[in-house]
Subunit: 156 residues, 2 copies
DNA sequence: CGGTTAATGGATATATATATCCTTTAATCG
DNA sequence: CGATTAAAGGATATATATATCCATTAACCG
């Protein structure tokens, strides 16, 4: 699980959990504790994939374009670092033709299972599940006033 | 799926498919088309994990120590690049205590599913499955005589 | 023994992922 | 309009994964 994916998910979860207003890359980076410049790049990817919308200028920032309940982890992952399915023999063996050998057929089966695992979870689920710890709880917004409804304390 | 894992699996599959004798890192590298020196490093990891045994000197080389039918892909993966389970909050949030927040709880669930997917496939299965392409077929041993029973042709 | 073979271990080089920086473009506001 | 804000885009630096190289150790063989 790469750093990039972790950052992208943190940002998306944060946006989903604070939908009242748009958030600048700077504010998201401070809130979720990641490098500002790198997040900026990641937000570009998410924007390119249509998962978030960027607005320039004063009062600009990023907002989620999708309903968190309809947004799977897979879509976030694929926006920043697509799951690499195996479509041709990595050895370039002509003998296999369009078919993969059992090794790569099996590995691609595993990749498919990984895709399914990612697809089975939505951002909305993570925010709602009861009896569980709310995502990113304990993190607070710096540089602006706290927003009503935001998670500020510990919830078990 | 990293390069390292791909190489490790190729080497293990090759050894499993040619169990009559030991194979030097050089011969495995040539046969399965990967960098010799890097393979050498990977074989060290596999040896350290006890999946292969290295024998020095003349007629030395590597052999599988395990029955391919009892050897899962997960064990090979974990030998060279362990599946990273999430055991503590990557943000270091004390508030969570031993519990992960839903984001990381979910991500760790996915990692568990990935582990299971890897654990569900054995090296032996890949060599045996009928109606499928034999692993690494088309590759031949260079520098020594062909070995009886080895895959030399195309099998569909 | 000494010579040859090949794994083992560790140092070094290269490529890619991660992270930073700076310029340009677009939006708001007075 | 000009000033300010912030995203968009691209160039540069740093860290890690990938790959190479060399010295050492151990086994075989004559």
């Amino acid at each position: 699980m790469s750093n990039t994916v972790e950052y992208a998910l943190r940002a998306v979860v944060w946006l989903a959990d604070h939908p009242e207003e748009s958030h600048t890359s700077t504010s998201i980076a401070e809130a979720t504790q990641m490098p500002r410049s790198y997040l900026s790049k990641i937000l570009k990817s998410l924007s390119h994939a249509g998962l978030v919308a960027g607005q320039r200028g004063v009062h600009g920032g990023f907002t989620l374009t999708r309903n968190p309940d309809q947004l799977s982890i897979l879509e976030v992952v694929n926006a920043v670092e697509p799951v690499q399915r195996i479509r041709a023999c990595p050895l370039g063996l002509e003998a296999h033709g369009k078919n993969l050998c059992n090794l790569h057929r099996t590995l691609d089966d595993v990749m498919l299972e990984i895709e399914k695992a990612f697809a089975n979870h939505t951002i909305g689920q993570m925010l709602k599940s009861p009896n569980r710890v709310k995502p990113l709880c304990g993190l607070t917004v710096k540089g602006r006033k706290a927003i009503a409804g935001q998670s500020t304390g510990i919830r078990r």
